[in-house]
Amino acid sequence: MDKGQMKKGVLELCILHVTASEELYGYEIMKRITGAFPEINESTVYAVLRRLHGDGCTESYTGETSGGPTRKYYRITPVGKERLEKMRSEWQEMLEALKSLGI
């Protein structure tokens, strides 16, 4: 697994987690992730979000913001939840493996 691949995996996990905990519109998701990973561009987050959406992990609907125009909101689907759980346990395993080695 190269660095890019690993990052993409983490991004995927983060996006799924964010959409699972709250229904947000695209720009908010991008901002939230780049807030945690400042070196990542918003467009990279968007690209991963778009792919997850294409895979059926999220679904979108048009909603209105509190005081303004309509936005495209994303929410997680059962397929997405399944993937999130799988990824979470995979990362947990990896963290434990690292811990066991004392890293």
Binding site: Y25, Y27, N41, E42, T44, Y46, V48, R50
Partner: protein, 344 residues
């Protein structure tokens, strides 16, 4: 960079690889980001910065959507073109050695075959590919029809004035069919209104038609010159042919370099221009070779002369095409640089 520039740039990088509907969808999402950012009081410049360079944005989108970061694919532009040119050359040679009528209707089929093969290799589902790439496909079909019409245009005056055959109306009808087909295909491709690499091909088709008419006129003039000194005329013709050949190679090599440069710079406009120059010179090059393959001493000397003496026309039209492409590119480059400076 402004929002408009950012979106235009992103479209430019994506258009070779994604369908129009996908690109429109992405751009609509991006536009929403700009709106949301503006609502938070961010400037367009700041939003562009946080989104990241359009090129890297396109690369990550492409890598997620298609599994490859390649912004353009060499094979996508080259394979159908080169195969078509090669097949057209074979067709031309067969047309001169056998009865041309037998090959007239094979031409369009032969020329679109490589595109079919390309679509089948590139995309597994043919109909999805056809729907996604219909703009490219119809423009390509249109250009092939134009080429066929050009071939007919050459035949009509030759058969009327030189051979004095009575079947000229067949050629006129065929030409009308090809021209109407070309117009229809171009209308369909314009309906989607998206610039694509194949859009340069119809231009080549038009050049080819003009070239065919000029070629005929030159040959006809030469035919009418009365002289007994056929040997010296043949020498003169061969000389013109050789110098033409060298210059043509130069143009061809320059166009190739231009094309490679466009790929490296990922410049869609120069890519299209280079593609158009390559198409024009490529056709001339192959045409020239297939014609020179005929033994000059075996056949009618005037028949040979007609091919070689018109080398000048190949040169003129090749030069005009290359110059037009160059001037257009320079103009666009200069205007782009100007607008970039203003923004900076």
């Amino acid at each position: 960079m402004t929002k408009k520039q950012y979106l235009a740039s992103l479209r430019k990088y994506l258009r070779f690889r994604l369908s129009n509907s996908e690109i429109d969808d992405i751009l609509a999402d991006m536009e929403e980001c700009f709106e949301a950012g503006a609502a938070e009081g961010k400037s367009e410049e700041e939003i562009c910065l946080s989104l990241g360079e359009p090129r890297s944005a396109a690369a990550s989108l492409l890598s997620e959507q298609t599994g490859s970061e390649r912004i353009t694919s060499l094979a996508e532009v080259w394979l159908p073109l080169l195969l078509s040119v090669a097949l057209f050359a074979v067709y031309t040679y067969c047309g001169f050695t056998a009865e041309i009528e037998k090959h007239d209707l094979i031409l369009p089929i032969v020329c679109i075959l490589p595109l079919f093969i390309w679509i089948l290799f590139e995309r597994k589902d043919f109909f999805t590919a056809l729907a996604e790439y219909k703009c490219d496909f119809f423009t390509f079909l249109g250009s092939v029809s134009m080429l066929a019409a050009g071939a007919m245009l050459n035949e009509i005056p030759k058969r009327t004035f030189i051979n004095r055959y009575s079947d000229v109306q067949n050629y006129a009808a065929l030409m009308a069919v090809f021209v109407s087909a070309a117009m229809l295909m171009l209308a369909v491709s314009l309906w989607k209104n998206a610039p694509k690499p194949f859009s340069a091909a119809p231009l080549a088709g038009i050049f080819f038609i003009v070239y065919e008419s000029v070629r005929f006129c030159r040959a006809y003039d030469y035919w009418n010159i009365e002289t007994d000194d056929a040997y010296s005329r043949s020498n003169q013709a061969a000389e013109i042919g050789t110098s033409f050949h060298n210059i043509l190679i130069t143009i061809f090599v320059c166009a190739s370099a231009f094309l490679i440069w466009s790929f490296i710079r990922r410049n869609a406009l120069t890519l299209a221009s280079a593609y158009s120059a390559m198409t024009v010179t490529g056709f001339m090059f192959f045409w020239y070779y297939t014609l020179s393959a005929l033994d000059p001493t075996a056949g009618d000397l005037l028949y040979y002369l007609e091919f070689v003496i018109t080398g000048r026309n190949y040169l003129i039209w090749g030069g005009v095409a290359a110059a037009a492409v160059l001037v257009l590119t320079i103009i666009v480059k200069l205007t782009k640089l100007k607008s970039r400076k203003k923004v900076g």
